[in-house]
Symmetry: C2
Subunit: 348 residues, 2 copies
């Protein structure tokens, strides 16, 4: 019989219905498509004039802005979903309806000069530099009174919504706390009131003790498939230390986070033939107090199934693979196997 | 500047960011793929033994169950996401987590003997018979104390999650009121408390008066693009008469609903080259009182864009087409144009 599982933080239910996995279409993986050839790629070296001017770059000393010599480059999105950020959003009314100016931030963080290397291929030290650049942009926007929430996301693969192939992340700054984050904040508060503990800290303790959903651990992080996983191979990376904010990581934590992210994605790439995926970082809202009862983390969802009418009409996901099987599979991926070199770290 | 719009019922915000529509990938329409050839289709005439035994059929007098002679056939899903329905769901605890048996209903309603004709091609009278069969199955499950919510959905096209090409709908019966419906119920109550009126009735009145988002009207129904549309060409069909339940439609309303659904989908098919879409019917929960403050309706979302990391991480949709443009486009589709005969009603 299918099993319903409740997310410990938000209280949302998920259906685990493994019999449906027999359907051959469940794990269809379309062949990789080159979305944008390198020759016309606006994110490749030498094409710096195809993007708006950079707002941050990790580049070699002596090189000029918006010219080659960079390792990581952050630019405003040419087609922003939010922006500009330089004023308070005006609210208005149209008949019975409310509107608000979509002020905010929409930036692109270009991962590296390589058109193809992503988190599975980039060296851990380079990923740590991406983490530092992300934190620098969080911090740059945190003082803006018009921005209530900052979200860092990554779309990998055309089926996951990546419109440009060259690996990049996106930073969104929006003028309200979004509902998914609001639910997690309320769930964290509710759990604290009931148990006098952080819901994420309790979850980590249980996952380490049980072990069956753990994918990997590092000094400062644990990656596991959440108990109420919404999709096959959904994976979270959570810091062991209780901390509300991504952007307050220490230097060693930043490097260790880069290591965890690299290994998680290398396991997905090697085990599932470079699947499309989305990840995002949930951190506390910009203007919340330092004691906010939250525990930042990364949520990664491979896009191997399609959310259809049932999921849209209910908000309940149907997952055809148990998180225990997902985690066992990802733990078992051999990152040193000869056939999988493309997925293991390569010199940059 | 992008505009944020608030859904009048749920209070959720949507970003309307039309500049992003310049991206050529925004409206990519993959060529239609035959997901399941008719020869091996379990829903085609003569293949009745490839499904579980039928639970309802609209069939010619004198024909035998699970044999040819049917116009519409309802069978249990071979790979159910919920079920069986015949007992109370047992709740259990795993460490800190809650689980519940996934009891419920998951049925397939095969639209017609045709492997290809869908709502745009089927005659209105046949669609009215589909509506009647759907209502019969709603009613059959409404007395089950284990079922709290019944949802009828339709997935059209592989990109929208249809794993079998032969047109069919699905009825889900689940042991709780799902969060998306809960939000609409709470929003309806909140609006009633503030305005002493039904939020959907007020919305219909405004949409008829303004006209700019109306797609079509019939005697008993109005179809419009909602003010806070989540996707390009999102369309709702709402009964003009305040009524909480889909399954309580009168005979003339059922026929008129079939007419509205046929025309809406014919406009989508003719105007957008048979796009993939999902639709579902939101009706009051099974065991709610007859006076429940709700107004049933159908929500249809074409799948022309991909919900990616931002949408997953926030619950906020980015829509690259205004609902005013969507409605104007769909109103303007010429259903009698010679090149579009496949999309207009054809004799069955």
């Amino acid at each position: 019989m299918p099993q319903l599982r409740q997310d410990l933080v938000t209280g949302r239910w998920v259906t685990i219905a493994t019999e449906r996995a027999r359907r051959p279409s469940s794990f269809s993986r379309a062949p990789a498509v080159a979305v944008s050839p390198a020759a016309t790629c606006p994110f490749c070296v030498g094409h710096e004039d195809m993007t708006p001017p950079e707002v941050l770059a990790d580049r070699a000393p002596g090189t000029l802005p918006n010219a080659p010599g960079w390792e990581i480059r952050v630019v405003p999105n040419l087609y922003p979903a939010f922006g500009p950020p330089d004023r308070e959003p005006v609210q208005a009314r149209v008949g019975p309806y409310e509107t608000m100016d979509g002020v905010g931030v929409h930036e692109v963080l270009i991962s590296s000069p390589s058109h193809t290397d992503d988190f599975a291929q980039l060296p851990v030290e380079h990923i740590a530099r991406i983490v530092r650049a992300s934190i620098a942009r969080y911090t740059a926007h945190a003082a803006n009174p018009a921005i209530e929430y900052l979200l860092l996301i990554n779309n990998h693969g055309k089926e996951a919504g990546a419109s440009l192939e060259h690996p990049h992340s996106q930073l969104f700054g929006i003028p309200f706390v979004p509902p998914v984050v609001q639910e997690e904040l309320e769930g964290s508060r509710r759990y604290r009131a009931a148990h006098r503990a952080c819901v994420f800290c309790d979850m980590i303790a249980w996952e380490e003790q049980s072990g069956e959903r753990v994918i990997l651990t590092t000094d400062h992080f644990i990656a596991f498939a959440p108990f109420a996983a919404r999709t096959p191979f959904e994976s979270w990376i959570v810091p062991r230390r209780h901390a509300a904010r991504f952007e307050m990581m220490s230097g060693p934590e930043q490097e260790d986070f880069a290591r965890a992210l690299h290994e998680l994605i290398a396991r997905l790439v090697a085990g599932l033939n470079d699947p499309p995926y989305n990840f995002y970082i949930h951190t506390a809202p910009v203007h919340s107090s330092p004691e906010t009862d939250y525990h930042w983390h990364l949520e990664l969802l491979p896009k191997l199934t399609i959310a259809a009418g049932f999921e849209l009409g209910t908000g309940v996901m149907i997952n055809v693979v148990t998180p225990e099987s997902s985690a066992e599979f990802l733990r078992g991926v051999d990152l040193s196997a000869p056939g999988l070199t493309a997925a293991t770290p390569t010199p940059h």
